[in-house]
């Protein structure tokens, strides 16, 4: 770490904003292309209706809601790393939190599209908002779907302002190195930041309170998302376990995506000295912890289904594991229940390639978890066994899903090229400050 000085940190991170390469444009182009696929699919859905996405009795919540929960879940680890670990004073979060936080904002932006696509008539979306209308009607505040709207809206707003707040001192650092139009742009967006004591004094306090507000918020958001299901009486949904189970799963999948994103960023931007193997090991430990909670929830869920003696509950879980969707359920059990156990080994935790591969499987597993909970519980609903039907995703589902990945990566790629993807000022905070005494001691040794 000897060569990692304040100046090294500023210059290394500012260098990531240099002229984009052809590889970058290729990636950005692919993301925009995927988004185009999504937009074309959406046009077809608008023209022919949601039946195109395989919506039919009894499965009216399918891949779109699965993707919604998946992307909201992805968002959670960002706030965990930026807010909860900030309150815990974990020094290692500084190198990775900006990427995680940007991921949060873009993942919520992606998640927010799915309820809109799912309602079918997007032009009526404002009916969700409590606005004075000519019929004097108001939303039903007893419905978890309205709670969800408030939770996601608040989460998007708060995580966005939290991201921007963290960016201000870093944009100022970039401004002071930049020239030309970039200096002007960063000069405006830095809001006059100079690092004066009067600014830090209010900034650090405010940041602390934002973190303190974001911490219960992040736990509430996925709890509210889980209540979209748990408040209904569908077997497989109706469980008090859902809130902690969903929160742990969300952080598990989010940490997975943080690893997936950080590995290429670190390699491409040459940030090996700033994002070290220790950081990846800590992320892997978070993955292990939350993955273990998820595994424990699977065991509890199945045990309670059996132990309750409730025939419908038992039938739902039997259908899940041995019904027509056995492949989805076992993908979920293996990727989320067994895979994290590999992380007990320090060799695996410190092997970046292994972590990268595991992180991708974590997210495949977590996508299938939502698919299993939502689609399989509805398809094999044991209260009306005569109405059961197997649902299969269609090309329209895959098209919209591909579009969502394109949308997410487009924003993320634009972000990493235009704003510091690693926090400049916070990475410096965990370095030893330059001191005269230390400098003299160092000179003696040299």
């Amino acid at each position: 770490m000897a060569r990692v000085t304040y100046d090294y940190v500023t210059r290394t991170i500012a260098r990531t904003l240099g002229a984009p390469t052809r590889g970058y444009f290729l990636l950005l182009g692919s993301a925009v292309g995927l988004l185009g696929v999504g937009i074309i699919t959406l046009l077809f859905l608008l023209r022919y209706g949601l039946g195109l996405a395989g919506y039919s009795h009894p499965v009216y919540w399918a891949v779109f809601i699965t993707c919604f929960v998946f992307w909201v879940g992805i968002a959670h680890s960002g706030t965990l790393i930026s807010a909860i670990l900030f309150l815990f004073r974990s020094g290692w979060r500084t190198a990775v939190y900006r990427t995680a936080e940007a991921m949060t904002v873009f993942a919520v932006m992606t998640a927010g599209l799915f309820p809109l696509i799912h309602i079918g008539r997007q032009w009526y979306f404002y009916w969700l908002i409590p606005y004075p209308n000519e019929r004097g009607l108001w939303p039903n505040f007893k419905s978890p779907l309205i709670w969800d709207e408030f939770a996601i809206g608040t989460y998007f707003t708060v995580s966005t302002v939290f991201l921007i707040m963290g960016l201000i001192p870093d944009i100022a650092a970039v401004r002071d190195l930049a020239t030309g139009w970039r200096k002007k742009l960063y000069g405006i967006t830095a809001l006059g930041w100079t690092g004066a004591n009067e600014q830090w004094r209010h900034y650090t306090r405010g940041y602390l309170y934002l973190a303190a507000l974001a911490t219960p918020l992040v736990l509430s958001v996925h709890s509210v998302v889980s209540w979209d299901f748990a408040m209904a009486i569908v077997p497989g949904w109706h469980a008090t376990l859902f809130a902690p189970y969903f929160v742990a799963g969300a952080i598990y999948s989010g940490v997975g995506l943080v690893i997936t994103l950080l590995v290429p960023i670190r390699r491409l931007f040459h940030l090996e000295e700033i994002i070290t193997v220790d950081h990846f090991e800590n992320l892997a430990k978070l993955c292990l912890l939350t993955g273990s909670i998820v595994s424990f929830s699977y065991v509890t869920e199945n045990f309670v289904a059996w132990f309750s003696g409730n025939a419908s509950e038992r039938a739902a879980f039997w259908y899940r594991a041995f019904g027509p969707y056995w492949w989805a359920s076992w993908t979920m059990y293996i990727c989320n229940g067994l895979l994290p156990w590999l992380l007990w080994s320090k060799k695996v935790r410190t092997n970046i390639t292994a972590l990268f591969v595991i992180s991708i499987f974590v997210n495949i597993g977590m996508w299938f978890e939502r698919y299993v909970i939502i689609v399989v519980s509805l398809a094999g609903e044991p209260y009306e066994p005569w109405a059961n039907a197997v649902y299969n995703p269609t090309w329209a589902d895959w098209g919209i899903m591909a579009g969502s990945f394109g949308w997410f990566f487009m924003w993320f790629l634009l972000f990493v090229k235009n704003f510091p993807a690693v926090s400049i000022s916070e990475v410096k905070e965990v370095l030893p400050p330059p001191k005269r005494v230390a400098a003299r001691a160092g000179a003696r040794h040299a």
Partner: protein
């Protein structure tokens, strides 16, 4: 013969957006401990309204300056309480304004409304915290735009700016140099 009088016109907007620079002395420091020494010496010499620049927040600087706790916390508190109240009002008033019985529950049933009240608490608390920071750091600290600054202060240098009239500047310069400033500028 006409005499031309130069009458200075009042320029209120110009005064707000382009205030005249504050005269004073700027010291640039490479080391944190030297900066702390300068702060102590300046305070001992009776200076109170100087500005310290640093690339990162350091508790040592806060302690040396002996600043009071930021009033941002009051913004957070008031915003949070207001948000909670708005959440309660929104849900209860709207329920009774057009009563619809759902699931045999009371028209205004508080437990589900706690979710909305909680989310509104966080939303308003966070937004008013941002306003608090902006208000205090950007608007209340109006002098900040008028004093000397060096782009190295966001990178790896610390800085101390002491407002001083030209007759006092020499003494301040001496204090800053003595504390270990690597560069001292007058402006």
């Amino acid at each position: 013969m006409t005499t031309h009088f130069h009458v200075p016109l009042p320029k209120p907007l110009h005064d707000i957006f382009r205030p005249p620079p504050t005269p004073g002395v700027l010291g640039v420091f490479a080391h944190l401990d030297a900066t702390l020494e300068a702060i102590k010496k300046l305070r001992a010499a009776g200076h109170a309204d100087f500005t310290v620049y640093s690339p990162i927040p350091r508790h040592e600087i806060e302690d040396a300056l002996g600043q009071p706790v930021s009033p941002v916390r009051m913004f957070t508190l008031i915003g949070g309480i207001a948000g909670c109240a708005i959440g309660a009002w929104l849900t209860l008033w709207m329920s009774y304004d057009w009563p619809i019985a759902v699931g045999g529950k009371p028209i205004g049933s508080v437990p589900p409304y706690v979710v909305i009240m909680f989310e509104m608490t966080v939303l308003f608390g966070a937004l008013s915290t941002i306003l608090g920071i902006l208000f205090n750091a950007a608007f209340a600290a109006r002098r900040l735009g008028t004093i000397q600054y060096d782009p190295r202060f966001t990178n790896d240098r610390f800085g101390v700016f002491v407002p001083a009239a030209s007759d006092k500047a020499a003494r301040v310069e001496a204090v800053l140099r003595e504390a270990g400033a690597e560069e001292v500028r007058r402006g």
